[in-house]
Symmetry: C2
Subunit: 206 residues, 2 copies
Amino acid sequence: MRPPRQSRSEQNLGNMIKAGRALAEQRGDLDDISLNEVVKAAETSIGAFYARFKDKEAFLQVMLEAALDEADALTQRSVARDPVWQAGPATAIVDRIVRVYVGQFRQNRGLFRGFLRHYSATGSGDNPMRLANRRIQDLLVPLLARQLDSPRAATADFEVRVAIQFLVGTLANLLLNDPGPLHLEERKLETHLIRMMKRYLMLPEA
Amino acid sequence: MRPPRQSRSEQNLGNMIKAGRALAEQRGDLDDISLNEVVKAAETSIGAFYARFKDKEAFLQVMLEAALDEADALTQRSVARDPVWQAGPATAIVDRIVRVYVGQFRQNRGLFRGFLRHYSATGSGDNPMRLANRRIQDLLVPLLARQLDSPRAATADFEVRVAIQFLVGTLANLLLNDPGPLHLEERKLETHLIRMMKRYLMLPEA
């Protein structure tokens, strides 16, 4: 028995997104991905592709949104399950924030690199990556800010956001230029990013 | 009396580069610059342009190299004239390093944005921006590293380079995505970058 038509189409969509994301990570960028490869890897057809998407651009958008939704869901699950997010201490929350961001950048290296370049071309308006970063910050920043020492309560939110700006800037530039001495796949990347954030926020070091 | 031919051609070249750089900063990027505008602003002709450059790409390269040479010269002059670079203290050197980098990014916002996107497309090979960053670091890092406390002498060079990686990453991402809360034209950008570097390097704050 065949599954109903709608469900096969959904399965095709899922396969195309999965294939596109795998190719982006394999290539490390979006430029070199052809639709032929995507439909071949997804075991579907160009016809099925264009029944679903206006063009490659529209497909890449949906790929990005799928990746960002997945990252959102992972972060929300961590916040729901790991009591440290609510109970602190601040140093342990910094640890987790760094791991959330580094994990996302490692997982979506090719996709993020392609979109960092793409969206930076279109000026300073809102875009899915910026909106996703804002959603994650709105979730995580208050959890850390309220754990900072009370004399700094008024500015704690701002300071945490600045520390995350240093973190995300470093990660974005790693994808774009990889200047070193720290590189994306090295474990010491987390060590130094955590150290930077803790010291910037004047937290004790473990 | 007319100046000799060579000198007029040199003047044309200088005018084209100056016009191109002015347009890049006016537009904030390289994509929207047309050769017609460049030659019109430089009071020269398309013929004179193609006598000098194979294509727009070759011209943009020369623009970038002119900007990077200028930045190099400014930094070298500062190191030669300002005794702090040799005498310290470390905190004052951090101050100057942040101002050198922020100054360059402000001055060449449009040009750097265009090339950050362009070169990030071509993978991880050497490019003029990466080479220029390496030259500046090779000049400045030893001056700061030798001022750090001696127990850390072995790793001082590495730590300074990591701190500069955070600095440059933040600035590059400001050009590409401007995520906030700090923005390129704000004075507090320097304040927070200096604070981050001093705290990361465990230096006293003024």
